[in-house]
Amino acid sequence: MLKRLGERLFTFYCHPDFQEDIKGDLEEYYVLNLEEKGEKYANRKYLIDTFLLFRFSLLRENWIGQNLINYAMVKNNLKVAYRNMMRHKFYAFMNLGGLTVSIAACLLIAIFVKDELSYDTHFENSERIFRVQSYLEFGNNEFDLATTAVPMAAAIKESFPEVEESARINGNRTNLITVRNKFFRQEGITYVDNSFFNIFSFPLIQGNREHLLDEPNTVVISETTARKLFEDTDVVGQIIRLEDGTNLKVTGVMYDIPTNTHFDFNMAITMIDLPRAKSNSWTSNPFATYILLNREESEDAVIDKFPYLIENYLAKQITERTGLTWEESVAAGDYTEYSLMALTDIHLLGHKQWEFQVNGSVQRVYMFGSIGFFILLIACINFMNMTTARASVRAKEIGVRKVLGSRRKQLINQFLTEATLNSFIAIVLGTLLASAILPNFNAFTGKSIVNPFFGAGGLWPYLVLGGFLIGVLAGIYPALVLSAYRPLKVLKGETMQSKNTFRMRDVLVMIQFTTSIALIIASITVYRQLNYLQNKELGFDKDQLLVVNNTHLLGDKINVFKNELLNNSMVENVSVTGYLPASDIFSDTPMLKGDATSTDESVSVQYWFVDHDYANTLGLTVDQGRFFDPAFATDSMAVILNETAIEELGYSGNPIGQKIKSNRAISDDSAPIYTIVGVMKDFHFQSMQTEILPHVLFLGKSDFSISVRYKAGSTKDIITLAEESWNNLSAGVPFEFDFLDSMFARSFENENRIKTIFTIFAALAIAVACIGLFGLAAYVTEQRKKEIGIRKVLGASIFNLLNLLFSNFTKLVLISALVAIPIAFYFMQDWLTDFAYSISLSPVIFIVGSLGTLLIAWLTVGYQSLRAARRNPIDNLRYE
């Protein structure tokens, strides 16, 4: 890309006699650089060389002649532009200010978008790496998984010659680990195949890439983790102990995983002796599987051959287990399909179940991209409007120039030069501004982007290009209009603006306001929707709930801990369970009605294990029946369902006492059958963006955390109390706690960020549009100064005058609103469909958006107008 640009540039200016051999030389340097320093460097160097080759002695001959004249002209044009800016400092300031701010905003958006697009591109061979995914259907349930079956990796590598390497990765947990008898809470613990590091070129600080994880109980850790655990990175051979007592030997330290990747692990443990990695089941899909293809184009070949995998592995297993052939099982509603996703697509397109993290979205990239574009457009329109509006100031100059023999082309050149000068100054200032804001922007978006503008690989060539582009875009219309003036008319002082230019200016103002109104409506909608989600009835009480983690490490003492807590008067209820809302738990299984005879009508339900105190502690509402009760010994076979589950199972009438069972019960008589003892109201146990799924609570042991419901106002005391009690029992395991409401708030972090970014940029767009309007109003008022004076003398009131000055702008804003509302409606409707629970687009939003803009426009114009209307008419009318 850069190379081709350079080549074109060179061909453009270089003397044809010299082109062939110099291009050959450049090609040779390019090839040398390509071998030594890589493609990026070579490309860049090529472009820089073509810049440096721009020498007088190498230019085209006709250029040399012309350039001498142009040089003087360009210099003169620049001088005139500079003087003009100095003479009208106010306008120059507004033009530059608006342009600078919008360019800064655009640049920030551009680096945000660029960063979003750069995900996972930094691996060697990243274009040849693919993820294997599975799509399942059984009964009426669909599962679109980012993961696939355990034996997939081995099978695919063995069966397909196109697959050079395959590797699995599984799990991402946070556990307590011990190093030299000290406890650490470690996030991002995962298991990977030995071949994982052959596919992904994570750079290593320590360790031998060939033998990282090929022995049992070995682990590769990240730099930060190494520093945290050992305060050193030279730690190969050191031991890390897991919760279950396994000792792991560190075999490698890798540099921290950059933020622009969809992986987020800190410790990669070998899968060699992981029991679940040895499973041969094709019917469950717990492992993320990545493959390295021999060529990028082999993707289709592999996809075409997936039926072979299904036939030879999955279908055989199904037949063994159920006696059904593949076709029969598909006909019965059990269906599986595999697919590939390119590694570099995962961040923006991967929105399946079991992703490692919440990925970005293409939609968002488009959204921000278009906001950036519109902000720039608004600023360019400002420039056009102000330049044409102020034409009368320049009209005499143009007339004189024309009389003295300027050709139209030269005048166009002059105005383009002015525009380009403006845009270059704005680009320089905007870049500085963006660089200054970047740290805050990073902190805010949670990214860590280094300043991409300066330095050898910087974006500055694009900025230079952008400077020209903006200059030409913003300057071409005024240049054409202004250069078309008839010198005779202009010099006689006749009005030089045809009706046409007025209308064009109105259209431009309308474009600005249409964009502004649409953006205001959009941000109000986004704001209200997210507020709605955060304040929606949850179905449980998230406040005053302390969560103490790692309680499974207490072992038998967990009940002592629970009782100690309960003994305090601050504590209302305590529940022992790891299953909490907002904790991203996803555990589903198909269940059937008690009398079902086939799996056709199975319903996929989420199953959670809780204790007797769960409903009271979390504040769940039991609608029918009862919650688990210690008084009933039979409760071990009892279940509580939520309303959705009851409905999906078809037990709407009287569900209490009905039975449910798992799919296994069809073929296996010993499988348990559960009795429904209670129905709870639906509560949001997962993200607010997803619909409430069928949910079944079982009575069972899950001791990963303890939830404590305490009395309001005793937050501090409860922490002290729990910590003291914990320290007495825990034998050194650190006390870790959280609050359910902050866990909940964290699950909204991402959305809130988007909301704020969106609002800021929308506000910016409006501000820039208002700068333009302000300038325009100032100018128009100035123009009509005499008219206002005369009207006032003749008896017009201030109200009459304001009406006169406002009416045009009001009309423009109202027409813009009419255009903007359908556009905004269409896009916001589309956006809202992504949410399971959404607000309806009430007319209030549109009215508020439009009237708000009108109000802002009035305020902007109002200052100028009011000043003009209140001025003593003598000041306006007096001559000399």
């Binding site: 010299f18 062939e20 051999d21 110099i22 291009k23 050959g24 030389d25 450049l26 090609e27 040779e28 340097y29 090839v31 060389d49 810049f51 440096l52 080759l53 721009f54 020498r55 007088f56 002695s57 190498l58």
Partner: protein, 112 residues
């Protein structure tokens, strides 16, 4: 003598062209200068110096063979002309003359 004027860089390029007799084209000259003078030369500076000297008549050039590495483009080999030789001679002579004119006293640094 204005006719023989050579800049410092031009002189080095001209001499290098002489050194590389028969093999003097862009890339080779650049590498030779880098090797002998330990000096990085930009393509732009080198090429403009070459063309300038060619138009002054110190160098002439002809197209040579093309290789695959160059994307099928021919090399341009430079040769020193008789005038170029004269310019070099003149330059060296004028330096030597100046050198010889320096009184011995000028190099007596003991007193300083």
């Amino acid at each position: 003598m204005k006719k023989y004027q050579l800049g410092e860089f031009e002189e080095i390029v001209l001499l290098t062209v002489g050194v590389l007799y028969g093999e003097a084209y862009g890339v080779a000259i650049k590498e030779e200068i880098a090797k002998r003078q330990n000096r990085k030369v930009s393509v732009g500076a080198l090429q403009s110096a070459l063309r300038r000297m060619e138009s002054k008549g110190f160098l002439n050039s002809e197209f040579g063979e093309s290789t695959k590495m160059r994307g099928g483009k021919r090399k341009r080999y430079f040769k020193i002309t008789a005038l170029g030789k004269k310019a070099l001679d003149y330059n060296m002579q004028s330096r030597v003359e100046l050198w010889n004119q320096i009184p011995d006293v000028a190099f007596e640094f003991k007193l300083c």
